[in-house]
Amino acid sequence: MAPSVENLGVDESFDGPMISLRDLRVSYTGREILHGINFDVQRGETLVILGGSGSGKSTLLRTLVGLEKPTSGQVWIRGKNFSAISEVERDEIRKRLGMSFQGGALFGSMTVGENVALPLQEHTKLEPTTVEIMVRLKLDQVGLSGFEDFLPSQLSGGMKKRAAVARALAMDPEILFFDEPSAGLDPIIAAGIDQLILELKKAFHMTIIVVTHELASAFLIADRMVLINKGDVVALGTTEEMKTSKHPRVRQFLDRIPEPAVAQELDYLQMLTEPSSKSGEGRQGKSR
């Protein structure tokens, strides 16, 4: 099935969008972080959520996987209203989701193999030997074969991320979420993670949601992108549409133009430093 990027109908049946957000609002301690987000993600599509620090993109991701509760609006996942269903139903859906956290979030007291095996042991009745084989397969998929018995603390940053992806893949999820997959990694390892995401997309036709602010990586992996700014969707479209967009915020983000306030601040700093250097000259003159 080809990813249908065009059809953005409000079809909420199962064959419809894997994820639908309807006027999603989220508040933290009385302050609204997301002000009414609307978009759909189709099956097999890779959506990249772009946004600066504090834009609300991480909150959006946390809400999508059910770690934050919306104050109003709905998150529909696979045709189910995620925030209005019972705990048991929510857990059923969660078993079909995989999440790779920014720092990996591997359990430090367990080996890599045990980390990957955990969801299988918890949610399936597979024999230990089968679980072992599954773990090996998953680690193989992310290029970490032979690292079953290592502790997360013995792995490098990139390997931790890969192990986290293996754990997220353990239950063969339909939707895979990535929080800042390339944050804190060197360019080569970051490119490796991008490659991994592309492979997963091609091989398993997974629906993938990636939160990032790495532009190069975003344009490489995305089918569509959504730019979040101060809790609002500024732009939503294919990578081509984003590249050619005339929207000032999109241009600012993609062309890496600093905030006007910051630019003014720079002017202000310059203004401050200039007279001081002059007065320094003056003093020098006097002393001479």
Binding site: R62, V65, G66, L67, R90, D91, E92, R94, K95, L97, M99, F101, Q102, G103, A105, L106, F107, G108, L118, P119, E122, H123, R167, M171, F177
Partner: protein, 265 residues
């Protein structure tokens, strides 16, 4: 007026904290006693490893400290009893104060230092490194997976440790009894056992059970409520220790009063 307002808000805060503790203990109890009958796993293996860590590994230090406490109790009691020529009551004084009060309390304090703090640090670290979030996204309940095994371990191990502490305390007292008070070792032990009623031992064990619940609830709650970064884990740990000691003393007071007034009749 402002003064009363401050009292009011701190009482409110205190009650909310106790409420949060009770809620956490309640959820842990659900996953321990009811969950397994509804097809949810009882994590026996994890409970056993927690029990090893919180219970068995505490034995050496607990033995040493309670032995000393028993000896100190004997010395202090003898100081006063000697004046009345009643030094032979040392055995019963040590036995009673160990089993009714100091055995459970000293055990609780040691367990707070070893395990209550460790619970807060472990869960706090897991919270700030998103491991708790990871559990939730994997549809694994953190209370069932992390907190319930700790509760099982603690409510089983604390009474056991307390019995051991009582025994070691009496042993410590016997050192003084044999060396200074004309007891032979068997006579000292018999005098101690004669002084004790079942009631004394049981009230101590009921207390230690409640201490176990309190320590686990505070340690886990402080850990789970950690926000921010690594330095907050340290704060949570400190808070867990201080709050646990305070609440253990409070629970001790409540139960001692309860047993005192119940014992009247």
């Amino acid at each position: 007026m402002e003064f009363f307002g401050k009292i009011g808000s701190s009482v409110e805060g205190g009650l909310a904290y106790v409420g949060a503790l009770t809620s956490l203990a309640g959820r842990a109890a659900y996953f321990t006693f009811i969950g397994p009958f509804q097809g949810k796993p009882l994590r026996f293996q994890r409970a056993v490893s927690q029990a090893m860590e919180a219970g068995v590994r505490a034995l050496p230090i607990l033995s040493l400290i309670t032995f000393f406490i028993g000896l100190i109790l004997a010395l202090q009691a003898a100081y006063e009893l000697r004046r009345f020529g009643a030094i032979s009551f040392v055995a019963s004084a040590v036995a009673l104060s160990m089993t009714r009060e100091l055995g459970p309390l000293i055990t609780a304090v040691i367990v707070i230092g070893r395990s209550g703090s460790a619970f807060a640090a472990e869960l706090g670290t897991m919270r700030v490194s998103e491991e708790i979030d990871a559990l939730e996204t994997m549809a694994i309940n953190p209370v069932s997976f992390l907190v319930a095994p700790k509760f099982i371990a603690m409510i089983l191990m604390l009474p056991c440790l307390t019995i051991w502490a009582n025994f070691m305390g009496i042993l410590g007292g016997s050192l003084f009894g044999v060396a200074q008070a004309d007891f032979t070792f068997p006579r000292y032990i018999i005098a101690s056992l004669d002084a004790l009623f079942m009631r004394d031992v049981v009230t101590g064990l009921i207390k230690s059970f409640m201490f176990g619940v309190t320590i686990t609830a505070v340690g886990c709650l402080e850990g789970l409520n950690t926000t921010g970064g690594a330095e907050q884990v340290g704060r949570s740990t400190t808070r867990a220790v201080v709050m646990s000691i305070f609440l253990v003393i409070l629970v001790d007071l409540v139960f001692t009063m309860l047993f005192y007034f119940l014992g009247e009749h």
